[in-house]
């Protein structure tokens, strides 16, 4: 057999082998999922049927929604929105410097490791737990919720920003060092403008996320609409709960529309 044909055959065999490996890997994943669900009782038919009928009764009681409470919950809804905005912006103000300190682009490995560890530690705590901790620190109310969202935001944005800054074309940094730019100039004239689009895009994503997250912070007394959710759930006033949920849905959709518009308007840079 000629060397060329041998090479073609080798390629075919390695391709075939890769396809089989992918197939087995996918089947393995499905098996793992089935095993996990089985452990939780997913395949016990009686339990699912019982549960479904419970759900049907619950849904029946949810309708029609009680719109008389709208004036009551309007203030709480606004508070939720304020918490989301303030929390996201405060988180952003902390994330940018932490992202700079956490990227190998400008700082030595020692600093980067410590900052990355700090960011990872912040990210480990879920937003609801941050809310509980902040209620302990500053007491009940929207300030606790805002601080919780800010900390949660830092955990994600600081990591994303650090990665963004590390991906900046090293030639630009080199050219800037060549003209005598110092670290502060590199932050202002390279890191910021080169990543502005991605920074804004991730900030908007975080804002959308925080609007959703802030609706549940009231469950632990950290302000916003969550307080009413918990109250109506506790009172089994399901038709009122429906109104709250619909109001939240409207808020979330409005945020998505606003953020999509902002992206279209400002993110034109390729």
């Amino acid at each position: 057999m000629s060397a060329k044909r041998l090479a073609v055959r080798g390629t075919w065999q390695s391709l075939e082998w890769r396809r089989w490996r992918e197939l087995w890997f996918s089947l393995g994943l499905v098996a793992l999922l089935a095993w996990l669900l089985n452990g939780m009782g997913f395949f016990e038919a009686g339990r699912l049927i019982q549960g479904t009928s419970n759900l049907a009764r619950f849904v029946q009681e949810m309708f029609p929604p009680d719109v008389r409470i709208l004036p009551t919950i309007a203030g709480a809804l606004l508070e939720t929105l304020q918490m989301a905005f303030a929390g996201t912006l405060l988180g952003f103000l902390l994330s940018f410097p932490l992202g700079v300190l956490g990227s190998r682009t400008l700082f030595p490995a020692g600093v980067v490791v410590i900052v990355r560890f700090l960011i990872a530690a912040i990210r480990t705590v879920p937003s609801l737990l941050w809310a509980v901790l902040m209620v302990i620190v500053v007491g009940l109310g929207p300030l606790a919720g805002t601080l919780a969202l800010a900390l949660y935001t830092v955990g994600y944005l600081a990591k994303l920003y650090a990665e963004l800054f590390e991906a900046i074309d090293p030639e630009i940094l080199e050219a800037m060092r060549g003209v005598g730019a110092r670290r502060r100039h590199l932050i202002r004239f390279v890191l910021w403008p080169e990543s502005a689009n991605a920074i804004l895009s991730q900030l908007l994503f975080m804002l959308e996320y925080n609007v959703r997250a802030s609706t549940v912070l009231g469950l632990v007394g950290a302000g916003g609409i969550g307080f009413y959710m918990q109250a109506y759930l506790g009172m089994m006033a399901y038709s009122r709960l429906t109104t709250v949920l619909l109001a939240v849905l409207l808020l979330v959709i409005s945020m998505d529309v606003l953020s999509a518009w902002l992206r279209r308007r400002y993110l034109l840079h390729p």
Partner: protein, 274 residues
């Protein structure tokens, strides 16, 4: 040959006639034992317009980055404008060296004017500029440079919206803004077609001649070398295998050097020098 790097150490002997660049037995490796530069010797006079040629991987970019003070070298001596280069160059020396990397190193999210202004950072490295406030005189100077390079109407356009040739001119303006005495340009016209590259080089040639600057360019096209530079050096496998006035490097000779064993080229070099 005299050894100017010894006499030039003393500040008093610094004159304009000091060579722009003196490189003596320069060795460099990114990884231990894998030498990219193997004992490069060069002496480039002030006001010279020199080209460095050579196949890919010959060490041209590495040499440029070392001369720009961006890469600490392992062994040898480098004198830039009469100042010895050891490790990172002093800010005062760095100011005098303009470096244009292959992809130009422009900040795409800033306007042409802002990019040119960055060339003045070495003169104004305080917090005011870090916040984006440049002295009025510098802004006027940057605008004058853009005007001279026929870019005045593009001054407030972000760099990512400019064409390849326009970006090239912004990079030149930024370098001139720095007020350098030596310009190092690493294959900065290699993305342009020949007529455009010739246009850009003609412009650079005129500007640096007016200002009496020294220039070192990495170039691929012999035609451009012959037309615009006064001296050419060919690097191969980290060594200088040929050096002559640009007109002496003919096509057949160039091809022979590029394709042949470098020992043969060395002989040719010797021959020519004789």
């Amino acid at each position: 040959m005299t050894q100017p790097w010894i006499t030039l150490r003393s500040e008093e002997t610094l004159t304009l006639s000091a060579p722009a660049v003196v490189v003596k037995d320069l060795w460099f490796a990114y990884r231990e034992g894998e030498w990219i530069l193997r004992g490069v010797d060069l002496q480039i006079p002030a006001g010279g317009f020199w080209a460095i040629m050579g196949p890919s991987g010959a060490g041209k970019t590495t040499l440029m980055r070392i001369l720009a003070g961006l890469l600490p070298f392992s062994r040898g001596q480098v004198l830039l404008l009469g100042h010895p280069l050891r490790g990172k160059p002093e800010p005062a020396l760095r100011r005098l060296i303009g470096y244009i990397p292959q992809q130009l190193g422009l900040v795409r999210g800033l306007t042409a004017l802002e990019n040119v202004l960055l060339g003045s950072l070495a003169r104004h490295d305080g917090w005011r500029t870090a916040l984006g406030f440049f002295p009025r005189a510098e802004i006027e100077r940057a605008m004058a440079l853009l005007e001279m390079l026929d870019l005045a109407d593009r001054a407030h356009e972000k760099v990512f919206r400019l064409s390849g040739g326009e970006r090239q001119r912004v990079a030149i303006a930024r370098t001139l803004m720095q007020d350098p005495q030596l310009i190092l340009a690493d294959e900065f016209v290699s993305d342009l077609d020949l007529p455009r590259a010739a246009q850009v080089l003609a412009l650079v040639h005129r500007l640096v001649r007016e200002r009496g600057l020294s220039v070192i360019l990495n170039l691929h096209e012999l035609q451009l070398v012959q037309e615009f530079t006064d001296h050419v050096v060919i690097l191969k496998e980290g060594r200088v295998v040929f050096e002559s006035p640009a007109p002496d490097l003919t096509w057949p000779l160039f091809r022979e050097i590029m394709e042949g064993e470098h020992e043969i080229s060395s002989e040719i070099t010797q021959e020519l020098r004789r």
